[in-house]
Symmetry: C2
Subunit: 343 residues, 2 copies
C-alpha cells in the first residue's frame, strides 16, 4: 500500500471520479505555504517554520472506536472526520502543543469512494478550522478483516510546543479549582457501552415527550469538539496549571493522570449540566452511576486546573461558560466523585 | 480512547500482566534522550535536535494490509511489527528523510495482551535498529467491526530532511541507470491476490521437490526490509537522482511517480532474480505476468536512479548486490517492462 493514495481499485464509475475529485479538493483546501505539495508525488512534506525555543514535537495516534458503527448505520459518516481531527487536537492540546499537521487512515470491508469522500471532507473541514493541513492519508479495503459494511478510522496528529511551555500538571497546587468545558455528548468515547445499552434504537426521540425533537442518534453523533481555540488564549497568558481531555476512563481516569503526588481532586457531579443522552443510556442499560462516570465524559469534555484567582480571567478569555466542578486538596484519594443521594 | 494506553480492559490474568510488562519494556527500550517520557503521563513528546537547514518534516501513515491474516493464521504476528516499521521507514527514505519517531495502532476483534505484546515487541526491535523511538501507540478492541480473530495494524512515521536535500526525482536525466535492491519476498504488498491465489496452502513446501525446505508461509512472511542503512551513505555522498519504494502498483506504479516529464524508464525483467514465492503465486492463481508485475515487487524492493558513472561507488557504499534493471531514456511511455517471450 502507498501513502497519500486514496485509490479506489476496481471502481471506475463517474460517481467514483466525482468522489475522488471531491477528496482532492477537500485535502488541498487544507494546504498552506508550509506544505511542499509540488515536490515529488509521494506527499507528506511539511516545512517547519516559526519554531518555539527548544521545540518539542507532540504526536498522538487514535481512533474513534465504534462511533463508526452508529454513524454508518445512520448514514452520517461525515461527522467521523470532525470527530477524529478534534479528538487528536485535544489530545495534544493537554500538553500545550499547537497543531502542525494531521494524517488519516480509513479501512473498510469495501472501499466506497463516496464514503471516503464524506469522511475526508469532514476531516478537512475540521483541519481547516484548526489551521492544520491534512498532510497525508491512506485507505485500505479488507473484506476478510472488516465485517461487512464496517469501517475503522485512525488519525495521527503532530504538534509542537516549546520545552519550557509544556503543560504536565506539575504546577497544580492545593486550592486550585477544576473548571470544565461542556462536551454536548459522548464525543467519541463509550460507544461500545452506549450501543449495548441502547440496542440500536437510534431513531427514537431522545425525549419521549418531544417526538419531533432530536433523536437518540442525533445526540450520540454530536461531533467531538475541539477546545483548541478556547484554550489557546489561556495558554498564552500562562494561566493554566493542568489540562485534561476527558476521554475513555471519564473524569476520574483522565484527571488523575495530571495530579502531582500528594494531591487529590474532589469533584461535585452536580456542578455542571449532564446532557440528556447520558440519562437515556443509563436508563436503557441500567448502568450504575459510577460506571457512567468511569466510561463517559458526562458532559464535561475538557478540564482546566488553575488558581481560583484566575478563574474569572479564564472565563473571559475562553469566551464561553466554564463550570467550576471541583477543588484540589492534599490527599491520596486520587479523584473523588461526589454523587447526589439517589443511587 | 486514549493515546499511549495499551490497556487491556477486562483481562486481568497474570499472563496479561506479563504481556503488559513486556510491552512497556519493549517500548521504553526504543527511547533515547530526545523522548521526554518523564513529563506528564500522556506521552508522545520528542525534542527536536540537530535539525538540518530549513527543516522539512516528512510523515506517512500506512498499514500492512492482509499480511495480518497470514501472520495470524500461522501464529507469527511478531513479523508484523517489523513489517510496518520498515515499510514506513522506506516510505520517507524515498524523499531523503531520516526517521525521527514512530507511532502504532493495533485494532482487533478481541484484545489479547499477548498478541499486542508480540506485535509491539517486533515493532520495537525494528525501531531500535533504525535508532527511532516508538513514541506512542493505541490499541482498540472492536468485535463488531473486525471479523473474529482478525486485526489491523497501522503505523505512522515522522522524519526530517533539509529542504535543499529533498529527493524528488527532478534530478533524473536521460542515460541514468535504475539499480534495484532485493526484497526477498512480497514484503507487505499484494497479499489479497496472494491469498486468493494460494487458497490457504501456507504450510505446503515452497518447492515440492524439497519437502523439508521453507514453506509457502515462510516465504510470504519474510519481513519487509528497511533500506535506510544501505541507502543513507549514498544520500550523504549525493549520488542519488531518484528513489523508489516498490509497494502496491509494483515497479511500474511506483517508478513512474518520480520520472520527470519527457523521460521514460525501460525495465528488463530478466535482470534480477525473482524469488520462487512469486512463481508459486503465479502458477497457483494462473495470474498473468503483467498482473504479477503490477501488484508485486517481484523481488526488487527498492530502486535507485543515478548516473551510471556512480553505479560502482553506489554498490560499494550500499554494501550489497545492486542489480542494474533499466535505463532512463527520452520518451513518454512511462515505465516499460521487457518480458521474456514465454507469456
Amino acid at each position: 500500500m502507498t501513502n497519500n493514495s486514496y485509490r479506489a481499485a476496481g471502481v471506475d464509475l463517474a460517481a467514483a471520479a466525482r468522489a475522488l475529485d471531491a477528496i482532492r479538493v477537500a485535502v488541498t483546501s487544507t494546504y498552506d505555504d508550509r506544505v511542499l505539495a509540488g515536490l515529488g508525488s509521494f506527499g507528506g512534506l511539511f516545512e517547519l517554520t516559526d519554531l518555539p525555543e527548544r521545540p518539542v514535537l507532540v504526536a498522538s495516534t487514535d481512533g474513534v472506536g465504534t462511533k463508526t458503527m452508529v454513524a454508518a448505520q445512520l448514514d452520517r459518516v461525515d461527522v467521523l472526520g470532525h470527530d477524529i481531527v478534534n479528538h487528536c487536537l485535544n489530545d495534544i492540546l493537554v500538553q500545550g502543543a499547537r497543531p502542525l499537521f494531521f494524517l488519516d487512515y480509513i479501512a473498510t470491508s469495501r472501499l466506497s469512494p463516496e464514503l471516503i469522500a464524506r469522511v475526508v471532507t469532514g476531516a478537512a473541514e475540521a483541519c481547516r478550522a484548526a489551521g492544520m493541513p491534512l498532510l497525508g492519508g491512506e485507505t485500505a479495503e479488507m473484506p476478510d478483516v472488516y465485517r461487512t459494511g464496517e469501517l475503522d478510522l485512525v488519525g495521527t496528529i503532530v504538534g509542537v510546543v516549546g520545552r519550557n511551555e509544556i503543560i504536565d500538571g506539575s504546577a497544580i497546587r492545593e486550592g486550585d479549582v477544576v473548571l470544565a468545558f461542556e462536551s454536548g455528548g459522548p464525543q467519541t468515547n463509550g460507544f461500545s457501552l452506549a450501543r449495548a445499552a441502547l440496542g440500536g434504537r437510534y431513531t427514537d426521540p431522545l425525549d419521549p415527550a418531544d417526538p419531533d425533537g432530536p433523536t437518540i442518534g442525533d445526540a450520540l453523533l454530536v461531533p467531538h469538539r475541539s477546545y483548541e481555540a478556547a484554550v489557546r488564549p489561556l495558554l498564552e497568558r500562562d494561566l493554566v496549571h493542568g489540562l485534561v481531555h476527558v476521554t475513555g476512563g471519564g473524569i476520574p481516569g483522565n484527571l488523575v493522570r495530571v495530579l502531582p503526588e500528594g494531591l487529590q481532586a474532589d469533584i461535585d457531579t452536580t456542578a455542571w449540566p449532564v446532557p440528556p443522552i447520558f440519562g437515556a443510556i443509563r436508563r436503557a442499560g441500567e448502568v450504575s452511576l459510577q460506571e457512567m462516570y468511569d466510561v463517559f465524559n458526562m458532559g464535561a469534555g475538557f478540564l482546566l486546573v488553575l488558581d481560583p484567582e484566575h478563574a474569572a480571567e479564564a472565563r473571559e478569555l475562553a469566551g464561553e461558560q466554564l463550570h467550576e466542578i471541583g477543588r484540589i486538596s492534599r490527599g491520596t484519594a486520587g479523584v473523588t466523585l461526589d454523587f447526589p443521594d439517589e443511587d
